[in-house]
């Protein structure tokens, strides 16, 4: 049974249409990432679910309870939705200790005092903050604050937890550890979660399913693997990963196979859109699927090395091929001589 059902949600703020009929569902125990560039409406969508922003139209249903229904005039206030929300800034109350921060939701639910103590201790233990209960938020590191914020959101067993850019305030190394830990924790608690992020690697790592948003619409909804490997639109293809892009014309079409040509190049790829022969088309290939080759051949372009940056585990190389500028990753520094760049046919996505 679908736990959360968001249907045709619209929201206008000032002169801007932030959400244009967005719909999605969230299954029990699933982690969904709302991914998109800034201004795509992902945070607004999250706040609409949380009850902090009210949409202009649409319907939001959790289990069988209607949280919002624009046409029926139903709006359940945020405090009645029983959701857990983790803010990007953590929003820990500075005048309360860690214990008081976490215990607050339980206190509101009139849980007996000793049970509160037990449950807070348990969740703090689970999250690795034992012994920190009496500190104030400003006495904690960023990572610890983040975990307190999470504890505060999960301690009263919310039906759903909402995470707004939960990892963006952590430094790079901590963030990678936190991904593993966060996904593990949510799975262990068996609750459903919606996470807003603009960081695709975060979404890919943590989520079961990704909703890619652009300009208030869902561009694609798929598992991490699918969305990365089989993007449905040019936007989805370009937003995910680091890419080379070829702008040209469809020269030949054989079922899914197609040949795209441009100024001094010609490549075979897979047609993902609905272009016909003669149409303008964009071809995308991930950097990790772009290779150096020894000599000319099919799906190869002759190119000159412009620059090579050493990144430790690999070299990031920039080539000039007639009017194109192409990047690729190479395990070793390329020699200073003419090169050919190979794009495997199956990896070139044409839109």
């Amino acid at each position: 049974m679908a736990r959360l059902n968001v249907t045709e949600v619209h929201k206008r703020l000032g002169g801007n249409q932030i959400l244009r009929g967005t719909s999605f569902t969230l299954e029990e125990g699933e982690i969904v990432a709302l991914l998109g560039p800034s201004g795509s409406g992902k945070t607004t969508l999250l706040r609409a679910v949380a009850g902090l922003d009210h949409p202009d139209a649409g319907r939001i249903v959790l289990d069988d309870e209607v949280l919002y229904d624009g046409s029926a005039g139903i709006v359940v206030p945020a405090e009645k939705r029983s959701l857990g929300l983790v803010f990007q800034s953590y929003a820990l109350w500075p005048h309360k200790t860690v214990f008081e921060n976490v215990a607050y939701g339980l206190k509101l639910r009139k849980v007996p005092r000793n049970e509160i103590a037990d449950r807070v201790a348990a969740v703090l233990g689970q999250i690795g903050l034992t012994g920190m209960a009496d500190r104030h938020p400003h006495q904690l590191s960023g990572g610890q604050q983040q975990r307190v914020a999470l504890s505060r959101a999960i301690v009263y067993n919310p039906r759903l937890i909402l995470l707004d850019e939960p990892l963006s305030n952590l430094d790079a190394k901590l963030r990678e550890e936190a991904r593993v830990w966060l996904r593990g924790l949510i799975q262990q608690l068996r609750i459903s979660a919606i996470m807003v992020t603009h960081d695709q690697s975060e979404a890919l790592a943590i989520a079961d399913r990704i909703l890619l948003l652009d300009k208030g619409r869902i561009e694609q909804e798929a598992t991490p693997v699918e969305i990365y490997e089989r993007p449905k639109t040019l936007f989805a293809a370009e937003f995910m990963g680091a890419n080379n892009r070829f702008s040209g014309q469809v020269a030949e079409l054989k079922g899914e196979r197609c040949r795209v040509s441009g100024d001094g190049w010609e490549l075979w790829g897979r047609m993902r859109g609905d272009r016909k022969v003669g149409d303008r088309a964009e071809a995308i290939v991930r950097l990790e699927k772009t290779f150096l080759a020894e000599g000319p051949g099919e799906n190869r372009i002759s190119a000159k090395l412009e620059a090579a940056l050493y990144l430790g585990e690999r070299w990031d190389c920039v080539f000039q091929a007639s009017s194109l500028r192409l990047r690729l990753w190479s395990p070793a520094a390329p020699a200073d001589r003419p090169h050919w760049i190979h794009v495997p046919e199956g990896s070139l996505l044409v839109f």
Binding site: G51, V75, A91, Y104, R152
Partner: protein, 558 residues
């Protein structure tokens, strides 16, 4: 939520609207009558407007007032913003103790200041005599319009300072450091980066000063008296007698004129304040701001502060203190021979003065606390309220700013006389409290809403999603977070209530005497030595309040 009617908020709007509108409506209604509104013979008429607009004194008052308002703004804005920059963004020596000093003029009654100026710098003032003895002819005439403009400008520096400094405080110091590294000197950073960034705040403080220039009463009353200098509020005062019988309709017309000038300015100031938040992109997010080094500007900068301090604070206060301990002064008087403490002893002969001191303390401490509680209620009602009622409330609280205290006092007398359910409260401190609270509403709201704005919205949203109702959020999150701000507001309101003078004049009676109004009334009957002693008591009272405030670490800025 969107469709639930927010009764609590609406009732706050309603109550404040009534408290604000009642006196205002009476005044405006009175302006359009040809006799006191309570006389059965009163008819609707424009005769009062015709009389005032044809009166030469009115033209003179408008003209003088324009010069005064613009002149003092031209002085207060550059000095105030320069001082704000020096205090907030540089390593000026002695910053920590300078701040309370800078705001002193806000908390001392202008009547007292004006009196102090006469004793010190008047034609036979002690400073004047000393100057004439050692330096030759004095370059000032304390009673001239020029002096009035300069002194009004200098005493309004704190207003500009308060607005500009709080804007500067929320400016991230990396913006300045970027300019510093690019090779700009501190003065250049100030002129090209810091001050332009807070330009809307400076501009809005300028508009505020301009507006205050139209309701300035105490200084022109005291200093303008001998030359017959008239500004609108003192013209209004003059109208009390011009026709032999107090002509309420004429006074009301002048009040309406002042309100008509004030309101657009208030509106403009609101707009500009709104622009400030857009301009200052960086919200003070725990970012420690590092002071800019003044280097060789250190001493000239200190000099500027001293140059402002001496004429604005040291001289008038010294004048008042001196007057309170001598029986005579002026040309040919050896001050050491006339020293006396009799005036203070005499204070206690006046039973109403003793009551007045007690009442002032009660009104300032308890009344100030209740007033801040009311301001907080209004602030919370408008807090995060997406409704046009919030906007209405926003403007509503600015309305009383447009009414000079004297008129507001008279209007409140009428309210307490003619609104029958309130009548029994008139001879109590409640009447004064209500008048004070309404007159200072805008000021108090500024402090309260500044405190409320410091609370990040997500702190409240976090509580909402944890399951707290709006009431709980206010109790558990918002109020605890603003409590220092509210205590600070309380102390500042304490100081203001302790010094307020014009509002209480008409509500003065046994049981409702307060120091400020007693000073006005004793001023009239000639007991100026008692006035001086009472002023000293008043200043000490305010000083104690300020001292406690600073002890508790209250920040004077919003």
């Amino acid at each position: 939520m969107a469709r639930r009617i927010p009764w609590a908020r609406l009732s706050v709007v309603l109550v404040s609207a009534v408290a604000i509108a009642l006196p205002l409506v009476i005044v405006i209604y009175q302006a359009f009558l040809d006799a006191p509104f309570f006389q059965p013979s009163a008819k609707l008429s424009l005769s009062a407007f015709r009389f005032v607009f044809a009166d030469e004194d009115f033209h003179r008052a408008v003209w003088t007032n324009l010069i005064l308002a613009f002149g003092m703004t031209a002085i207060a804005v550059p000095v105030g913003s320069a001082m704000a920059f020096l205090m907030v963004r540089t390593d000026l020596p002695g910053r920590s103790w300078l701040e309370p000093v800078i705001v002193i003029p806000v908390f001392v009654s202008p009547m007292v200041l004006g009196f102090g100026y006469i004793v010190a710098m008047g034609p036979v003032g002690f400073l004047t005599l000393w100057w004439q003895q050692h330096l030759g002819p004095i370059p000032w005439d304390i009673y001239s319009l020029k002096s009035l403009v300069v002194l009004a400008g200098l005493t309004h520096v704190p207003m500009v300072y308060l607005y500009t400094s709080s804007a500067l405080r929320s400016l991230a110091s990396d913006l300045e450091e970027a300019a510093l590294t690019a090779g700009a000197g501190t003065a250049r950073v100030a002129l090209t980066i810091s001050l332009p960034m807070v330009w809307p705040a400076i501009l809005s403080s300028g508009v505020l000063t301009l507006f205050l220039g139209f309701e300035l009463f105490g200084l022109p009353l005291v200093l303008g008296d001998p030359q017959g200098l008239l500004v609108l509020p003192t013209y209004l005062f003059k109208l009390t007698n011009k026709l032999g019988v107090p002509s309420y309709q004429l006074m009301a017309v002048v009040a309406v004129v002042i309100i008509a000038i004030a309101f657009p300015l208030v509106w403009l100031q609101r707009k500009l304040m709104g622009a400030t938040s857009r301009f200052v992109s960086v919200k003070g997010k725990g970012q420690a701001s590092r002071p800019l080094p003044l280097g060789r500007w250190r001493w000239p900068a200190t000099g500027l502060m001293v140059l402002w301090f001496i004429p604005t604070i040291a001289v008038p206060l010294a004048g008042v203190f001196l007057r309170s301990v001598v029986s005579s002064w002026g040309e040919g008087v050896n001050l050491t021979e006339v020293l006396t403490l009799d005036h203070f002893k005499e204070l206690f002969e006046y039973p109403n003065v003793v009551r007045g001191i007690v009442n002032t303390i009660v009104l300032a401490v308890v009344g100030g606390g209740i007033a801040v509680a009311c301001y907080a209620a209004i602030g919370l009602a408008a807090h995060r309220w997406q409704s046009r009622w919030a906007k209405v409330l926003d403007y509503l609280v600015m309305v009383p700013r447009g009414m000079p205290g004297l008129i507001a006092g008279l209007a409140f007398l009428w309210v307490f006389l003619f609104v029958k359910p309130l009548a029994p409260l008139r001879p109590t401190l409640f009447s004064l409290w209500l008048a004070y609270s309404v007159v200072w509403l805008a000021y108090g709201m500024r402090m309260v809403s500044a405190a409320l704005l410091q609370v990040g919205p997500e702190l409240e949203e976090a509580a909402a999603s944890a399951g707290a109702s709006s009431g709980r959020i206010i109790r558990d999150v918002t109020l605890p977070l603003v409590r220092f701000g509210l205590v600070g507001a309380w102390l500042l309101i304490f100081c203001i209530f302790a010094r307020e003078y014009s509002t209480g004049v008409y509500l003065l009676g046994p049981g409702t005497e307060v120091i400020g109004s007693l000073i006005v009334s004793l001023w009239g009957s000639g007991a100026l030595d008692v006035v001086a002693a009472l002023s000293v008591v008043n200043i000490l009272l305010v000083a104690v309040g300020m001292g406690v405030a600073l002890r508790l670490g209250v920040r004077l800025h919003g």
